[in-house]
């Protein structure tokens, strides 16, 4: 049990609608970009394998709807996440300001064992667009990330495939170490878990 490796790393991508969550995932998984990805409704996921040091990691990347109200039914896919990616549009300050709310929402819904150490990665997308007036500065973003538990920060362009691979490599590493620490913890709590699991039965009433 103690050396069990989780077969699949589960990564949840959150952020306001239109910041490019679907585009980031599709660029990373298929090396494709389209301006016409429809607004995500419900949820979907995509798989990709990645070589991290000497072993292959399988990632399940969960794409979600950006409109806030659609999150309330999202518990189903938040659970068991190994890493959460918070995405904003560098040209849209509102989407940046929403990051904290997304983070809190995730922690409430996913209810990870140790919220303090749960890995988040912040991605500022759409750096290809030149709009100096509105742009959230890199400094500001870095300061925010430092102040909120030293979250790694990346700037990307899903359209031009800039920074996407680098961001996901760090996401994968963080997810992997999170999964390993969960494994470690489970060794001590297995007895309790098994008991709880056997009690769980679907409600028929």
């Amino acid at each position: 049990m103690s050396h069990r490796k989780k077969a699949m790393l589960k990564i949840v991508i959150l952020g306001d609608s239109g910041v490019g969550k679907t585009s980031l995932i599709r660029q990373y998984v298929d090396n494709k970009f389209s301006t016409q990805y429809k607004a995500t409704i419900g949820a979907d996921f995509f798989n990709r394998e990645l070589q991290v040091d000497d072993h292959t990691v399988k990632m399940q990347l969960w794409d979600t709807a950006g409109q806030e109200r659609f999150q309330s039914l999202g518990v189903a896919f938040y659970r068991g996440a190994d890493c959460c990616v918070l995405v904003y549009d560098v040209n849209n300050p509102k989407s940046f300001e929403a990051l904290k709310a997304w983070r809190d929402e995730f922690l409430v819904q996913a209810n990870p064992r140790d919220p303090e150490t749960f890995p988040f990665v912040v991605v500022g997308n759409k750096v290809d667009i030149e709009d100096n007036n509105k742009r959230v500065s890199t400094k500001r973003a870095q300061a925010f990330c430092r102040a909120n538990g030293n979250m790694p920060y990346f700037e990307t362009s899903a359209k031009e495939a800039i920074g996407v691979e680098a961001a996901f490599e760090v996401i994968a590493r963080n997810a992997l170490s999170q999964a390993e620490s969960e494994d470690y913890n489970e060794d001590f709590t297995d007895a309790i878990n098994i008991h709880l699991d056997s009690d769980k039965s679907p409600c028929m009433c």
Binding site: S17, A39, G42, Q60, R69, S72, L73, A76, P202, C205
Partner: protein, 712 residues
């Protein structure tokens, strides 16, 4: 040459129907064959497929004997037909081994008369159907009788192919037609057989007081059904495993009038046996697991005489051609009054949908922009009024842009709308081009360009955002609007239609998501009732939140079907023909169709979600709609049966003994709740389920928006 047998009688074009599909019917001959040196009781009753006869060159002999009405042919030698055939449904059985013959004349709605042979070994052989209209000998005989003005056979019924079979069989065996039945013939019955028959008759008369008998009868009945099921490709072995009760004597059973009635009801539905047997298989499988709810349901299914109705899927659903403009115009008189009833028109649309050129007119009615009962003149007036209304509403924000541009909520919503319109249905030609430069040079779409239709879409959605202030614009609405706009090609009319459509769709979008939650919960109840085995599987896969239906329900399958299919689906749903929530039966139909794959291969929520998401653009709408209709009809019947059963229970003092108190949750049960009932054994028909029978649309309005809350 192997030993030859003598063919005494033959009838052509007698079929076995192995599946519900008529193209699977197998033509053959029924014959009486005397093996060499055999006495009368050793004469074989045989059914041989035409193909087998062609292989061993007996075909011509069978044809000759069939047409030999005056029995001039003295010697017609054929090979002895084998007792059973691995390659086909062929069989033969000596008269001495036949216990009874069940005999079903052709009737209205069931064109082929049939006979079914029950052996002394408690075996039911495949029913064979006499296709009279194809059999030359039968046609000759019918012609002759018509000429003589006596189309009836000796027993007073219309002559059919099976008549001569009995006539010939009677030459070699004693056929006793027990009193009270003209469908069953006992073949060379012993005194014991006859006694058994009359005894069982008495028992039936006393059945109301005799619970044990009812139990035996029910067991027996299921046995028979499993036998009948074996006619189909559903293998007998499987069927028998399902019914592990000790096999009772089928011959006892066949004498019971109740069972004959079963056979009667059932004969006409034989073609559905394959489906039916699968239904039983599910029930039986499921019943092995322990769950209070399901155990009750199983008992209900097994314990009631009426359970046949529930399980026999004798509902049919067939899609019709879409309504063309000619047919549509014929629905109205010269001044535009509907000449059919609204229900008739809706029925037609429900089953066929509309051709594109009919939609701009018909959708106005379906979305209740104009009343069904009105004249052309009145309709024109209403449409003009709608145009004014839209312009006025649009003007409200258009003339107030100064203020609006400082309103954060407004700006937020506007940019959300813009983002979404630019990614909605861009493959549809209306929205595909982006040849016009954007009116706002600061817009993030200034570079990519836009077109007049995209701009109209934005205006309509912004207007709706103002019109329904509490709800505002929510993602998914652009998907709902675009088909309306493309069909009407008129922004004002499309807006009016959208407002009407949104009346019923508002519950999908409200902030607390309770409307979506309720619908997913109703699906949960529906699947428990209609697809119980699948439900257990989904429960084990932590998937009974049915989240994988979220997208499908939210925008009514807009993302799951191709454009044209979406238009058809929506007009079908707008009819509210069976239920205003028929959309949930569409969901149920999709699960039904894929349940085997899900249960065999998908064991986790993520796998199921992926599978369901990937059904998008692969599903056959026609098939799904047919399944959905059948699911609905079965559902309605199930509710009806549970209600009737519950009523029976509450009026019966006999059944009340040994029961426990049980409070009912639904209104019908409330007055019965004071009595002692055993209906905890019945499936619980929740209010959610009962509401599915309603044709009234469900309207849930968003609560007032807190000014501090954004449009998320």
């Amino acid at each position: 040459m192997t030993s030859k047998a003598k063919l005494l009688y033959s009838k052509s074009k007698v079929y076995v129907h192995p599946t519900p599909n008529s193209k699977d019917n197998i033509p053959g001959f029924v014959g009486l064959v005397r093996p060499s040196h055999a006495e009368d009781s050793g004469i074989l009753v045989a059914w041989v497929p035409e193909d087998d006869l062609k292989v061993n060159h007996d075909y011509d002999q069978y044809v000759k004997v069939d047409l030999d009405e005056n029995l001039v042919l003295k010697e017609a030698l054929v090979s002895t037909p084998p007792p059973s055939s691995f390659s086909s449904y062929g069989f033969s059985v000596p008269i001495r081994d036949i216990y009874s013959i069940y005999y079903k004349r052709p009737s209205l709605g069931w064109w082929w008369g049939s006979i079914t042979i029950n052996t002394r070994g408690s075996e039911t052989l495949p029913a064979i159907f006499f296709h009279d209209s194809e059999s030359p000998s039968t046609k000759n005989e019918q012609k002759k009788r018509n000429k003589d003005f006596d189309p009836f056979s000796n027993d007073g019924n219309l002559y059919w192919g099976g008549d001569t079979f009995l006539l010939y069989l009677e030459k070699y065996a004693k056929l006793v037609n027990p009193s009270g039945s003209n469908n069953i013939f006992l073949v060379n019955p012993t005194q014991e057989d006859l006694d058994l028959y009359s005894n069982s008759n008495n028992k039936v008369a006393a059945k109301d007081e005799e619970d044990p008998f009812v139990k035996v009868f029910n067991d027996v009945k299921w046995k028979v059904l499993s036998k009948l099921a074996s006619v189909t490709k559903f293998s007998r072995n499987t069927a028998q495993q399902l019914f592990d009760s000790t096999p009772p004597k089928v011959k006892t059973l066949l004498n019971i009038p109740e069972v004959q009635k079963v056979n009667d009801d059932f004969g006409s539905a034989k073609v559905y046996l394959a489906k039916w047997a699968l239904g039983i298989a599910e029930e039986a499988q499921r019943s092995k697991r322990k769950s209070v709810y399901n155990e009750g349901y199983r008992k209900f299914l097994k314990g009631e005489l009426g359970d046949f109705e529930l399980l026999s899927i004798d509902f049919e659903s067939e899609r019709r051609n879409p309504i063309g403009i000619k047919e549509w115009n014929a629905f109205f008189d010269p001044i535009g009054h509907l000449v059919l009833t609204v229900e008739e028109v809706k029925e037609r649309i429900f089953h066929g949908g509309l051709q594109p050129e009919v939609r701009p007119q018909a959708w106005l009615f379906l979305l209740e922009i104009i009343p069904w009962v009105s004249t052309d003149k009145e309709r024109k007036k209403i449409l003009n009024q709608k145009r004014h209304e839209y312009n006025d509403l649009k003007k409200l924000w258009w003339d107030d842009l100064e203020n609006k541009n400082h309103d954060e909520f407004w700006l937020d919503q506007k940019s959300r709308i813009e983002k979404d319109v630019h990614r909605t249905d861009r493959s549809v030609s209306f929205f595909a081009e982006a040849e016009v430069s954007h009116p706002d040079p600061n817009s993030r779409f200034a570079e990519t360009g836009t077109n007049a239709h995209l701009e109209q879409m934005k205006d309509m959605l912004i207007t709706y955002n103002e019109y329904n202030k509490n709800l505002g614009y929510i993602q998914g609405m652009s998907d709902l609007l675009s088909p309306l706009y493309v069909v009407f090609q008129d922004d004002a009319v499309a807006f009016a239609a959208f407002c009407k459509f949104m009346d019923r769709m508002e519950r999908n979008f409200i902030r607390d998501q309770s409307g979506m939650r309720d619908q997913l919960l109703t699906i949960d109840h529906l699947v428990q009732l209609m697809l119980p085995q699948l439900y257990e599987h989904l429960a084990q896969a932590d998937s009974t939140h049915f989240f994988f239906f979220f997208r499908m329900i939210l925008v009514w399958f807009k993302r799951e079907f191709a454009w044209d299919d979406v238009l058809t689906l929506w007009e079908v749903l707008w009819t509210n023909y069976y239920s205003s929530d028929f959309v949930l039966f569409v969901a149920l139909a999709i699960l039904d169709k894929h349940k085997d794959i899900i249960m065999t291969h998908l064991n986790q929520f993520d796998e199921i979600l992926k599978y369901m998401n990937e059904l998008s653009m692969t599903m056959d709408l026609k098939d799904i709609l047919e399944r959905a209709e059948i699911q609905f009809l079965n559902f309605r019947k199930a509710i009806d049966m549970v209600d009737r059963k519950r009523q029976d229970m509450s009026s019966s003092t006999f059944l009340a003994s040994g029961s426990t108190d049980y409070s009912l949750t639904d209104t019908e049960g409330s007055k019965a709740a004071k009595q002692k009932l055993t209906d905890h054994e019945l499936p619980n028909i929740t209010r959610d389920l009962r509401n599915l029978l309603s044709k009234e649309i469900v309207i849930v309005k968003e609560v007032e928006r807190d000014p501090d809350v954004g449009g998320g």
